[in-house]
């Protein structure tokens, strides 16, 4: 097994120490950082995403893989052009205005990063204006809004409405999710997509951005 395949396999196993060692080994062997990232780390993460989608592994295993990925990426960052990790698109995420429960949002962010997106995480209790301003300023094509409370779900609509009011409907897409949120609710408020869990949210974002 070559070192890149070994990185991917160790990442799948959530073995962050081994991923770190192998990534360093690949660098020492003279492999380009981009190649290690794409064909080792990202390749492993793609498999992890697929296994999770197919219910072959559990969420903590995905997060162990994400931890291993972080270990590898940290080693590669100084070697990548401008210190930036190449991405396939930008996504703004945050919890709905009035909501501080961020675990779901954090999980979506981790999985989006694992899939190769740049994530602009606005944190908790985010106003509609901040969501839309951040998307416009960063050039993000997707805004992801998470809520845990039934009473804060309503502020998701404010974000969807503001995107439309500013004439950005075709340019910036919205996706909503969170424990009490349903597909019907997403449709009712006019969101472009609904992610029923973190893995599905990544699929939806990919579909929205056409990657």
């Amino acid at each position: 097994m070559d070192v890149l395949s070994e990185i991917a396999a160790s990442l799948r196993n959530g073995d962050d120490n081994r991923v770190g060692q192998l990534t360093q080994q690949a660098v020492d062997d003279g492999l380009a950082a981009e190649e290690i990232l794409n064909n080792g780390l990202m390749s492993g993460m793609r498999v992890v995403g697929e296994l999770f989608r197919n219910h072959d592994i559990f969420l903590p295993e995905v997060l162990l893989a994400a931890r291993a990925m972080n270990r590898g990426v940290d080693l590669l960052k100084p070697l990548l052009a401008g210190g930036d990790v190449p991405t396939i698109g930008k996504v703004v995420i945050g919890t709905a205005k009035g909501d501080l429960h961020d675990i779901g949002k954090n999980l979506v962010g981790i999985m989006l990063k694992g899939a190769g997106f740049e994530v602009i995480d606005l944190g908790n209790d985010v106003t509609a204006e901040r969501f839309v301003d951040a998307a416009v300023e960063s050039g993000a094509k997707v805004i992801g809004i998470s809520a845990l409370l039934t009473t804060t779900m309503s502020s998701m609509k404010g974000v969807v409405d503001l995107v439309r009011e500013r004439g950005l409907g075709g340019e910036i897409h919205t996706i909503v999710g969170g424990a009490p949120v349903s597909k019907d609710f997403a449709a009712e408020i006019g969101a472009d997509a609904y992610g029923y869990d973190a893995a599905n949210a990544v699929e939806q974002v990919k579909a929205l951005t056409g990657v």
């Binding site: 196993n13 959530g14 073995d15 592994i57 559990f58 969420l59 903590p60 295993e61 997060l63 162990l64 994400a66 931890r67 972080n70 270990r71 940290d74 205005k97 009035g98 909501d99 501080l100 429960h101 675990i103 954090n106 999980l107 981790i110 209790d125 409370l149 039934t150 009473t151 804060t152 779900m153 424990a179 009490p180 949120v181 349903s182 019907d184 609710f185 009712e188 029923y196």
Partner: protein, 242 residues
């Protein structure tokens, strides 16, 4: 009159199956070795950081009516408004597993260890829910002691932010209960800090009166519908020989 309870860490510590279930791992599943180690690590951090406290104060139906109405933002109809006016007893409560656990969760996510952060988060969430249930059990005992004929009465906690009771209801609840005394504060959006805290009202009511159909406007938008499990827990609780 309000009372403060300092819980033993064991009261605030969920069992392993509860944590695994919260992580999407069913009881019958074989737990991968690395995940098992992660849960061990999570429990270890939790046990060294948890500081479980609660506060409870009985309140009359009339006083609670004002708390419930809050800032007038509740759903037009809610299950709670059909239950509390006939309650045998009501008590405001707040519980927390403490800020140290919450800081540790944030630190783990920030420092690139989402796996352990998530595990600690699920332990702390289940721990806080466990404390709310401990408060309910304790109030159940109080109600049963004061009225031995109340074997049909069951206590369930209800919280602002759920089932149509708007989260802004927290403001009046805090004004009366003063959970600041146990380190829980409220932000401008009426959310609690530490985040792993639960507040609300303990409603001692006839067992059947806690039951309601999923017919409210907000029910159609609610994917979780965890109310079912809560209701089942009192409908089929046969304590007191009923």
């Amino acid at each position: 009159m309000s009372g403060i309870t300092h819980f033993r860490p064991s009261t605030a510590t969920p069992d392993r199956h509860t944590v695994l279930r919260a992580q999407g791992i069913p009881d019958e599943a074989s737990v991968p070795e690395r995940v098992a180690a992660l849960v061990d690590d999570g429990f270890e951090i939790y046990s060294s950081t948890v500081d479980a406290t609660g506060i409870r104060a009985e309140i009359s139906i009339e006083e609670f009516d004002a708390v419930y109405r809050g800032e007038g933002q509740n759903a037009p109809r809610t299950p709670l408004e059909g239950i509390f006016p006939d309650a045998h007893g009501l008590a405001l409560f707040a519980v927390t597993v403490g800020e140290a656990v919450c800081s540790e969760i944030r630190r783990l996510f920030k420092t690139g260890d989402p796996a352990l952060g998530y595990t600690l988060d699920t332990i702390a969430s289940a721990g806080a829910e466990g404390l709310a249930n401990a408060m309910a059990r304790d109030y159940q005992d109080t109600v049963s002691r004061s009225n031995p004929n109340a074997s049909h009465v069951r206590v369930l906690p209800y919280s602002p932010g759920y089932c149509g009771w708007h989260v802004s209801g927290q403001k009046k609840l805090f004004r009366i209960l003063q959970p600041e005394r146990i380190g829980i504060s409220l932000n401008a959006s009426a959310l609690m800090k530490p985040l792993k805290s639960v507040s609300g009202v303990l409603v001692a009511a006839d067992r059947e009166s806690h039951d309601f159909d999923i017919e409210f406007n907000f029910c159609t938008d609610c994917a979780g519908q965890e109310c079912r499990e809560r209701i089942q827990s009192v409908l089929f609780d046969t304590r007191g020989g009923q």
